[in-house]
């Protein structure tokens, strides 16, 4: 399948550099706005949980991180796949730029989960299906980063990374359904299920605000990373020279 010419034009490194430069401040400020409101409603306005008391407030950083850990992985795998099939350089760059951010979100999901598990379950860690599959996700990210770092040629590095990322996609539904397929200590889904979310609006709203904030955080930082990579890879072209000399 051939992509229309406009896609190639749109995803040209130069076009991306200019467009992303305009988008970054919008994403960044919107993110700050969502995060501040989310934190206010989550930490101050939302009532304590009837079972878990105040400890449940970890949810407002734990769940958005966990969602992002899977979302970023999908972005990474899909853009890796696009780079593999249509050889769009920008897709390769987006995949590699996503990996460290995804790994950071996965680490956060695990660490905040641990900090929540200790007071609620009495253990920092249990080898339960949800926790184990999320840990595998962290290893997939780290494997992707290590693999790409070990290959000198950027084209080959992108190809190898994309294959690894695509194979690892199998882990994503496992993470999501782990709480249904196995009897886990980890609680079931509260928001992402077909019937009504089993969470009160006063807690759902800050959760969703934080989720949007985290998504915008990813958008901002992945674009920043990708822009740097574009400059490096296109350093021999005239437009990069102009950008560097004008200092913007």
């Amino acid at each position: 399948m051939k992509l229309p010419a406009i896609v190639h034009k749109f995803s040209s490194p130069r076009n991306f550099y200019v467009m992303s430069g305009k988008l970054i401040p919008w994403f960044g400020w919107a993110c700050l706005l969502f995060m501040v409101t989310g934190l206010y409603y989550g930490l101050v306005e939302a009532p304590p949980d009837y079972q878990q008391g105040e400890s449940y407030r970890i949810i407002f950083v734990h769940v958005p991180s966990a969602w992002m850990s899977m979302f970023v992985y999908m972005v990474m795998a899909i853009s890796g796949g696009i780079g593999l099939i249509w050889r769009i350089k920008l897709a390769d760059i987006m995949a590699s730029a996503s990996a460290p951010i995804g790994a950071a979100f996965t680490f956060l999901a695990l660490a905040t989960g641990s900090l929540w598990g200790k007071p609620m379950w009495g253990a920092w860690w249990v080898w339960d299906a949800r926790l184990t599959s999320e840990l595998i996700l962290l290893f997939l990210y780290l494997g992707f980063i290590a693999l790409q770092a070990s290959i000198e040629d950027p084209r080959n590095a992108a190809r190898a990374g994309a294959v690894l990322a695509l194979v690892g996609v199998v882990n994503i539904p496992i993470i999501h359904y782990s709480v249904e397929w196995w009897s886990t200590l980890h609680q079931g889904a509260t928001v992402t299920k077909l019937d009504k979310p089993s969470i009160h609006l006063s807690m759902l709203i800050p959760l969703l605000l934080m989720a949007v904030a985290f998504k915008l955080y990813y958008a901002t930082s992945v674009l920043m990373r990708a822009r740097n990579e574009v400059l490096l890879r296109e350093q021999n072209s005239r437009w990069v020279k102009e950008v560097v000399e004008s200092g913007s």
């Binding site: 101050v44 929540w116 007071p119 000399e245």
Partner: protein
Amino acid sequence: MDLETFFHMGGYAFYVWSSYGLSFVVLLMIFLRPMMSKKRVMKDLRTKYRQQERQNNQAR
């Protein structure tokens, strides 16, 4: 609500504030890394272009 109850978090202060503190630090790192590497990339490329220009001038 007074500040003391707020920071006390019903006795879960350590777990709640560690989670938020850790998230803050990790998110900050995600943001600062590309900021710093942009500065480095710009500096490195500027040096490289200057060297190239010097070489071109000498060759002439």
